[in-house]
Amino acid sequence: MTHEATSTVVTEVACPLCGHACDDLSVDTAGAALAVVAHGCDRAVSGFARLGAGSTAATPRIAGRPATLDEACAEAARLLAASAQPVFGGMALDVSGARGAMELVDRAGGVIDHMNNEFGWRASRVIQDGGGINTTLAEVKNRADLILLVGTDAVSAQPRFFERCVWVKETMFDLQPDSRRIVYLGGGLDTQPGHSPDGRAPDVFDFERSRMPEALSVLNALVAQQPVAGDAPLGIALARWQALADALLGAQYSVVVWAGPAFEVSQLDLNVGAIVSLVRRLNVTTRCNSLPLAGNDGDLSMGAVHTWQTGYPMRTSYASGTPKFDPLHNGIDRLLATGEADALVWLSSLNDLQSPPATGVPTIVIAPPSLKLAAEPQVYIPVATPGMHHTGHFVRTDKVVTLPLQALRRSALPAAGEVAVAIATRLKEVQS
């Protein structure tokens, strides 16, 4: 189904509301809210409706009192100049927002930490420790003959994963999409989308997901033709595990899908490291790749810009005048909890559901007007949303494809990146 473009309906719209970044949405711009009229998942429909409001009476505020944008930026700069260690949280931004944020954090001597980065930095550490063998969505769509979902059902993170990458009509090559084998590792997952269109049920290894490290050890051992103790690891017959190992070894192009937030935080490095080992082992004789699902709330957009501009991933401190990367020290929750941080900037243009934490330190909130705040911050600046009110760029789950975001309707509100740059400019004046 495609929705014809009309004077008010825009087609081929890219969606910034999850890391999959579907780019086939049709959005009607005529009403008070932006209405996704084709190819929208629930998250897209509600997100465009909520964030995409047109006229808004929202104005900046200083200590709860209305202020001009200039006044609010000046007050934010004053607070940052007075702060010894400001921290930047939220960070649900597109590339342009991230660029502005980088200019500000460097000038302010702060630390950036994305709302999803408790998982992100650990996944990054696995890359730093050993690396990986990864693939991207179009490869999955056209080549994957066996998809192993480790602890995730994919759709909780990226609702249209199966629709767009698995149960498609055709592939570039000889592979029949309906013939793909789907395997879930772990219980309590929504496995319904894993049923093939012709009714084949997926293979579900149902066990407590906190035991994922054991499960991956079993699989790694069997793929490496090493012995495994017991005849039913995690309560599942060894023969089933062996059959899965054999299927992976026999597949032409298997894909191992995982998502950081689906793992227990303390097990994330262990699980991802085990996935990397499994994939490396399989590549000795056949092809196998992993596909991390990330990118929600612009975490990969913020992370990519941070890394390319300065060399380091997030959780880098700019306090000393040169970047200092220390992901253990520089988690902003930790810095706030220990009292090491004395100001919080909450920047978000894509997420209006997660509020800034209550901290007791001076707080500057730069966020869409639809974000509900538990407490009034010292400075509040409402901003527009990229992909709805202004153009932008969004890095997709595979870290390869960047989608262009469209301006669907105008907003009187500034973009988050512009606000960050305006504060940085003010801060420079205050400091000099």
Partner: protein, 556 residues
């Protein structure tokens, strides 16, 4: 109007045949002019008598932006710690040695007198990110070579025996869609072959699915680039990189272009024989002889220099094979969008390691045995052979025979014994260095107003203090002007500027989109219209960089 005058410098401008002549230079509105007219006034004068003056240097092959570079940055915090760039009133903080942040890269290039750099492996599907990274690389003009040759669409066209005209349209469409200045092919067809579990692909070996050979790919792509009137010859990363005995593949790849212009990149990695006890030897003499004879062939060297670096390549097949040699031992290998791939492997070149030492010697042998400096280019394939910051050291190796031989005496003795480097007396002149690093790249890429100092040229100008130690001379120019603005003084940034983005605009039949659009909808993960980068969007990607568009005159 106001005019800047550079007085009394010793000008080296090979594009105009000027070799060390004392001349005054005048800059007005970002460009060189012959002399001020009655309406002009000299607003600033720099007395540079005795100083050497060249146009801004141009790096025609440097991995400065795109997904694989960012993977390298992310995976190597240990690379960055010792190499910080401080925040100043003018500049932002950044860091990194082999895989620096874009800010550090831009500042350092400018501080060495470079005013342009070209990303040679821009994956079409990753073009936006590459342009965004290059846009965040201050000081430099940038551009990219779009990678084709393992993309399903082209291989499908070849398998269906579509005619050259259709392929030309697709190549031109790709150049427009990705906003690039040339076409590159990496291990032709093999990135695709690796996805079908092939582990090597010789020049005349077929891709298992399409039945197409690397030779056919080089042939049609070099023809397409030529027919479309794109100045930059097809940029070829040949098959069998790093494999002992690959010299025959490399010579065969030159022939695959069938006499049309072809550029063999990082040719050092493709100049290996199988002689000697260890079955690894220099084939530099055969390669240099071929380049000397075949006037359609150009090459950049991809010199290795000893120390820690990281290799970042589109060649996932070879990078997977070499991952075990990584130091530190880690690697990221990717299959990408039925379009391309990449592989990132950190590497430490050691002067006492036989293979590394011989690679070092082979690169220098090629530099010294290729006669025509217009067809050989000074690169380290940054960061694959060494970071670009080693260029001044490399220039000294080329210009100073006694220094070179002293270095040669310190490397692995078995490698030294296998190399004829000690017998090569040639020392590059400043004029030849200016060709290799300025005039040559500008001519090769088709940058008519760059790489020279004639009236009308963009005022990208570098002033060096003459120094017998060429490394010291080239690492810290006294003055650098970018588009007529003084941006570096005594090797330090004094003004931060944003460069432009070069892209070619060949003519083609837009009717090709009738095939491409439904193809994207059937098979790809993005729509064609979201794949293409418009001129306006390019500027936004570049954070405000200007598009520098180059028309092409069809030759087909």
């Amino acid at each position: 109007m106001s005019v800047i005058k550079l007085t009394g410098g010793r000008v080296i401008d090979p594009a105009n045949g000027v070799d060390d002549q004392v001349r005054d230079l005048y800059i007005r509105d970002g460009r060189l002019i012959a002399a001020p007219d009655a309406h002009d006034r000299i607003s600033a004068e720099y007395n540079i008598s005795g100083r050497i003056v060249m146009s801004g240097a141009i790096d025609m092959h440097s991995h400065i932006g795109g997904g694989k570079v960012n993977i390298a940055r992310e995976m190597l915090p240990e690379d960055h710690r010792g190499d910080p760039v401080e925040r100043t009133e003018l500049t932002r903080s950044s860091c990194g040695h082999a895989a620096p942040g874009t800010l550090a890269a831009g500042y350092r290039y400018a501080e060495m007198g470079y005013t342009a750099a070209f990303e040679p492996a821009l994956l079409p599907v990753n073009a936006r990110q590459a342009h965004m990274e290059m846009g965040d690389t201050p000081m430099l003009d940038t551009g990219g070579y779009a990678m084709l040759g393992s993309d399903d669409f082209l291989l499908r066209m070849l398998a269906a025996k579509e005619d050259q005209q259709a392929i030309n349209d697709y190549v031109a469409w790709t150049l427009h869609a990705t906003q690039t200045v040339g076409i590159k092919v990496v291990n032709p067809g093999a990135i695709s072959a690796f996805k079908f579990n092939q582990r090597k692909l010789d020049l005349d070996e077929q891709n298992a699915f399409y039945g197409i050979t690397p030779r056919e790919i080089v042939k049609v792509l070099s023809r397409a680039v030529h027919d479309l009137g794109v100045a930059k010859p097809l940029h070829v990363h040949a098959s069998n990189l790093g494999v002992p005995g690959n010299v025959d593949t490399t010579l065969g790849t030159m022939d695959a272009a069938e006499g049309l212009p072809v550029h063999l990149t990082h040719i050092q990695f493709h100049s290996y024989g199988t002689e000697g006890e260890r079955k690894f030897s220099s084939a530099a003499a055969r390669i240099a002889e071929a380049i000397n004879q075949k006037k359609n062939v150009s090459a950049d060297v991809g010199q290795i220099l000893f120390g820690q670096t990281v290799t970042a390549s589109g060649d996932n097949m070879v990078q997977y094979r070499n991952a075990g040699h990584g130091s530190p031992k880690k690697s990221v290998i990717m299959d990408i969008e039925c379009d391309a791939g990449c592989g990132v492997v950190p590497f430490k070149y050691k002067d006492q390691n036989f293979v590394n030492a011989l690679q070092w010697a082979i690169g220098l042998e090629i530099f010294l045995m290729v006669d025509d400096p217009w067809r050989i280019f000074l690169t380290t394939d940054h960061p694959n052979g060494a970071p670009f910051t080693t260029y001044p050291h490399l220039i000294k190796l080329l210009m100073d025979r006694s220094f070179r031989n002293a270095m040669l005496d310190t490397i692995n003795p078995d490698a030294r014994a296998m190399s004829n480097l000690a017998g090569l007396d040639r020392e590059y002149s400043l004029y030849e260095i200016a060709i290799m690093t300025r005039a040559g790249p500008a001519k090769l890429i088709g940058l008519a107003d760059r790489g020279h100092l004639a009236p009308g040229a963009a005022a990208d100008i570098v002033v060096y203090k003459e120094d017998a130690d060429r490394e010291r001379m080239f690492e810290k120019p006294e003055l650098v002007f970018k588009d007529g603005e003084l941006v570096v003084r005594d090797g330090r940034i004094v003004k931060v500027v944003r460069g432009g983005t070069h892209a070619v605009k060949p003519e083609f039949d837009i009717g090709i989109e009738k095939k491409i659009k439904p193809y994207f909808e059937r098979f790809h993960s993005v729509r064609m219209n979201n794949f293409k980068i418009s001129d306006d969007e390019l500027c936004e990607c570049g954070g405000g960089s200007k598009l520098i568009a180059h028309a092409c005159r069809k030759r087909g």
